[in-house]
Amino acid sequence: MAVRILYFAWVREQIGVAEEDVNLPATVETVGALIDWLSARSDRHAEALASRERLRAAVDEAFVPLSAPIAGAREIAIFPPVTGG
């Protein structure tokens, strides 16, 4: 499955890119599984994505828990807890 991955804030800084297009194997079925899969891409990915409780995600622009399925998603974003306002 071809998906665009977006990173924000310190996740983006640590990984070193704001977005990347990936081709996911069908075995990667949830956001959590995606994070594991992305962690294997490089040391920077592994480090940025190591602490699961500091990560949040959105699938196609909607906030979801890390347990959410990603079937059919075109864009998945991974980022720290938000701090606006």
Partner: protein
């Protein structure tokens, strides 16, 4: 009527107050960059598209819950310095309690529901602002 604006331009309070309307009762909240702990610059990152969508959903929820005549959320992004306005929210209603409650709801929930991230510059260093538990608690009090 809902007004959502995410922009790197300064927030014009006079204009926003005018747009926020005159519908009996109008409650507003404005947040400004503070120079706490030697912060010299604040960078606001956001998730274009998802941000506007989250703010629109939040404004719609407030409008339905309190029968607002108008809901406004204006959020600045990009680089700011102390004294610059970060956010302006406004709730217009026929009655005062609805306007006051909806305004507090909008600013509390904005802090947990919309994809913004603050990065502070202090001296030569920058640091990402950590989420505070009190923000979660403030947002949670609006759960039914």
């Amino acid at each position: 009527m809902i007004r959502i604006l995410v922009s790197d331009a300064p927030i014009d309070l006079g204009e926003e107050m005018r747009l926020a309307g005159d519908d009996g009762a109008l409650a507003t909240f404005t947040g400004t960059v503070r120079a706490d702990d030697g912060v010299s610059e604040l960078m606001l990152e956001h998730y274009p598209g998802a941000t506007e969508r989250a703010l629109q959903a939040l404004a719609e929820e407030a409008t339905g819950r309190w029968s607002l005549s108008r809901a406004t959320i204006v959020h600045r992004v990009g680089a700011m310095v102390p004294g610059d306005r970060i956010v302006f929210v406004a709730a217009g209603a026929a009655h005062r309690q609805a306007a006051l409650d909806a305004c507090a709801f909008l600013i509390d929930r904005l802090k947990t529901d919309a994809p913004f991230w603050k990065r502070e510059q202090v001296g030569g260093q920058h640091r990402w602002v950590e989420r505070r538990d009190s923000d979660d608690a403030s947002a949670a009090k609006w759960q039914h």
